[in-house]
Amino acid sequence: MRRARVWFRRVLSLFQRGRLDREFAEELESHLQLHVGDGIRSGLSPEEARRQAVLRLGGIEPVKERQRDRRGLPFLESLGRDLAYAARMMRSHPGFTATVILTLGLGIGATTAIFTVVNGVLLRPLPYLQPDRLVYVSETLGGRPNPFTYTRDYAAFRDHNRTLSQIAGYMFFAANFTRGDRSERITGGLATRSFFDLLGVQPALGRNFLPEEDSPGGPPVAILSGEFWRNRLGADPSVVGRSVILDGRSYNIVGVLPRGFRVPGQYGGDYTFALWLPFAITQNRAARNEIMLCAVGRLKPGATLQQVRADLDALQQVKLRRGIQKGIVVSEWQNEITHGVRRSLLIFLCAAGFVLLMACINVANLLLSRAATREREMGIRRAIGAGRRRILQQLLTESALFGLLGGMLGLAFAYWGKSILVAFLAPNLPSLDPILIDRGVLFFNISVAVLTGIAFGLAPALQTSNFDVMRSLKESGRGSSDGRSPQRIRSMLVVSEVALAMVLLSGAGLFLKSFFRLRSVDGGYKSDHILMMTLDLTASKYKTATDQTEFFRQALERIGELPGVLAAGVTTSPPFSLYSYTLSGVILEGQPEASTSVDVAIVSPDYFRILGIPLVRGRIFSPVDRDGSPSVVVVNESFARRFYPNGDCLGKRIQNWDKENDYKTIVGVVGDVRTYPEDEAPPEIYCPYLQTAGTHMTIVVRTAGDPLLMSAAVRSRIAAVDNTQPPHDITTMEQAIDEHFTPRRVKMQLVVVFAVLALILGVVGIYGVLSYTVRRRTHEIAVRLALGAEPTRIIGMVMSRGMGMIASGIGIGLAASLALTRLISGELWGVSATDPWTLAAVALVLVASGLAACLMPALRAARADPMASLRRE
C-alpha cells in the first residue's frame, strides 16, 4: 500500500520535473540563507558563513542530483534520455540507420514468417477438447509403419484397454451424392459414436449417433458437416429428419455439426468431410470383414504413451494372437498429424535463423566500424564523468532500439511473407485453423528483436566503452589503423558469415540439383494435351462385369466423337494415381515358383497410344480382345527383363489369378511407365478392359487444344451415358505432375531464397569490412604509394586480406556443410548429401562473389591520391 503510494508519487513527479526542480532550488536557497544567518550571528564574515553552509550541505549540485534520483525513476529517466539520444543519432545518420534496420528487418522478418507457420502448425494445440491428452494409435507390420489400425484390433482396444479413458475410430470414404438430377463425388467420414464425444464436439442441430445406429446392421443415418449443410442444402434449419442419397442409398439425417469442425485427413491435406456415417455401417456381422481405420484415444490421467503402447501391445499379442511381426505405435495426435511437415519446417526455421544470424553479424560489423568513429564522443563522455556502465547502457539502448525497429519492419515483412508462405505450403500444411500472427508470434518477434539488438550490440558496445580516454582524445581517430583486437573480431565475423553462407548455399544447391534431377526423369509417357477424370461406378447399379465394361465402352465412344478429341481411353492406374493394384504370387507357366508381386492395370487399347507409351515387341490390344475371345495381356519391359531375362516372353502364358485352369497369353511388350518419377517402374501387367472389368477407372483423353477447355464437353458425354455417375479429380496430366512436384519445388525455392539472402549479406559483409579497413588505412596506403609502391601491390594486399577471410570461411563452411547436409539427406533424391560437385560449385560461387566484393575496395585503395590524402592530415 505504502509502496504503491511511493511509486505513484515517483511516477507523478516525472511530469512535474520543472516545477519540482525550481521548488527544491528555492528550498535549498532558504536553507542556506538560514544557515548563513546563523553563521553571521556567530561572528563569521558573510562569505565564510556561506562557504561553510555550502560545505555542510555537501555541495549544491550533488544534493540536487541525489534529490532527483530519490524523487523520480532514475532508471527510466536515463532510459528515456538514452532513447531520445539514440533517436537523434539515427536521424542524423539516415543511410546508416536505414541499412541497419533493413538488414535486421530482413533477418527478423524471415524468422518471424517461418515461426508463424511453425507456431500455427506445430505449436498451437489442436482445436479439440484437451488436445494434449489425445493420442493416435497405429500399427507396424514387420517393422514397417502402417498408419492405420484394423477393426478387430480396435474392438479389442476399445473393450479391454486399461490406459485410455476414451477411444474412437474414423475413416474416410468417397461416394456419389445425388440431389435432384445432379450428382457429385464427395468425401465423407465414417465415425464411431464415441468420436464426437472424444473430440468434445456437439452437433449444432440434432444429435450424435445412437448406440443402435453405430452397430452392424443399424439403420442408415448421417450427420452433416456445417459446410455441407450450408453449401449444398442451403442451411435448411429443418434438415434433421430428411435424407441424403449416397450411391443410390438413402440416409436419414440425424444431426448437423458446427461449422469449422475439421479432422485431419490421412494424407495430410486439409480434408473436409462433407458428412459422417456411423462406422458400423461398414461392418457385416456375418462376414466379419476387417477394414482399416484411424484410432484416436484419450490418455487416462497419469497414463503415459509408453504405458498405452505396452497395454495395447499386450492385448494384440495375447488376446488377438497377432504374432510378433505386428507392433503398436502410440504417438501424440498432434505429432502424428504434423510429422510430415515437421522436418521441412524445422529446416526452414534453421535457414531463416542462419539468415538472421548473418544479418546480426553484418549489423555488428557496421556498428564496430562506427564505434571507431565515435571514440572521440565516448572519450568526452568518459572525461566529464560518465561511468563505463552508463556508456554501455546507452550503447545497448541504441542497439536495442535498432533491434526493435528492425523487429517492427520484420513483422511487416512477416505479415506479407506469411501469406506467400502459406499459399506456397498450403497443400502440405495439416493445420486445422488459419495460420495467424497471434500473441505467441508477437512475443517471439519482440524477443528476437530485443535479443538480436543485444547480441549484435554487445561486442561493439564493449569495444567502444572499453578504451583509453586519453589516447582517444589525443588521436583524432583518423589515419591510425585499428588495434589488433577489433580487427580480429571483424575478420572473425566475416569468416563466420562466409561459413554460414556456405552452409545455406550448399543446402540450396543440393535441393536444386535434386529437384532438377527429378524433374528431368523420363516417366516413359508424353504428358502434354492429356485430360484425366476419374469415375467410381456405383456398385449397386453396375453389378456385373458386362454392365461396367459397357458403361465405359459407351462413354469412350461418345467422348471419341467430340471434335477436338484425338483419342479417349481408360485405365485403372494412370501416372500419379493413388490407386495401384498389386498382385502377389503370380504364377508364370513353365516357371516353378510363384513370382513376387507385380502391378496390374486394366486399360483400353488406345491407352498406350494416348500416353505415347512405345510398343517394344508384339502387339497392343485391339477391340477383338474382348469377353469371349482368348485372354491376353501386355507386359512392360521391366516385367520382361525380370521374368524372361533370356528369351522372348511373347506367347508365354500367365495363370489367370481370377479363374482356375485359365491362362492369359502375353501378346506384347511396352515401355516402362513410372507412377512417380521417384520410383523405378515395377513389373506390370496390362489387361484389356473389354476382358477385365472394374468400377474404378480414370478416363484419359488426348486433345488437340487446351485439355481443360474440353472438360465440360467430356463430362456432358459421360452424363449422357448416366448422369448419376459423376466424374471426379478432373485434371490434366501436366497439372498432376505439377501438383506432385509442388512440395519439393516450394521447399527448394524457399531454401534458395534464404541462400540468396545469405549470399547477399555475406558479400555486403565482406565489402563493408574491406572498405572500412581501406578507409582506415588511407594514410598508410598513401604513404606507400608516395614512396613508389606499385598500385597492383596495393590491390594485391587488400585482395589477399579479403580472400584470406573468404578462404577460411569456405573451409569452415565446408566442414559444417558436410556435417549438416546429412540432416536433409531424407529430402533429397538422386543426389548424395555430400555431393562433391555441388559443394565445389557452391565454393566457386562464393569465391567469385567474394572476389567481386573485394575488388571494389581494393581498386579504391590503389586509386588513392597520395597528395590529397596526406594533405588532409
Binding site: 503510494r5 528550498e27 535549498l28 532558504s30 536553507h31 546563523d38 550533488p62 541525489r66 534529490q67 534520483d69
Partner: protein
C-alpha cells in the same frame, strides 16, 4: 569525544518524525539543527542527506509540506507530521525501544562505560 557519529538512514527518519512530533511544523534547516542539539552535538547530520530523507517520508505520506515564512521572514518549506506519520512514529518508537532493550541485555552497563 571529538569524533561525531554519522547518522544512519533508518534512524534519521525516526529522528525527523520525533522532532516534528515534539516541535510541530519546522523547515529542513530547523530539523537538522534540532537533531544536532538534541544529540548534544554528538551527531553530525550531513545536511545534504536530510533532504532525500524528507522526500522519502513525504512520498510515504508520513509528513506533509507547505511553504511558509521562517523566523527571519524568509520563504521556507515547512514540514509537519500527518496522522499516518504519528501512527508510524508510535510504532517505530516502540520497535526501537524493544530493540535497544534487547541490545542492552547483551551489552551490560559495566562494559559500556569502558
Amino acid at each position: 569525544m571529538n569524533k561525531k557519529a554519522d547518522v544512519w538512514q533508518g534512524t534519521l527518519a525516526l529522528m525527523v518524525l520525533r522532532t516534528l512530533h515534539a516541535l510541530g511544523p519546522l523547515h529542513g534547516y530547523g530539523i537538522a539543527r534540532r537533531i544536532e542539539t538534541t544529540s548534544g552535538d554528538l551527531l553530525s547530520v550531513n545536511y545534504g542527506t536530510l533532504y532525500p530523507a524528507l522526500l522519502k517520508l513525504e512520498q510515504e505520506g508520513y509528513i506533509a509540506s507547505e511553504w511558509g515564512l521562517s523566523e527571519n521572514k524568509r520563504k521556507a518549506k515547512f514540514y509537519k507530521l500527518t496522522a499516518a506519520g504519528r501512527k508510524h512514529l508510535t510504532r517505530e518508537a516502540r520497535e526501537w525501544e524493544r530493540m535497544t532493550g534487547i541490545m542492552a541485555r547483551f551489552l551490560p552497563p559495566a562494559e559500556q562505560t569502558s
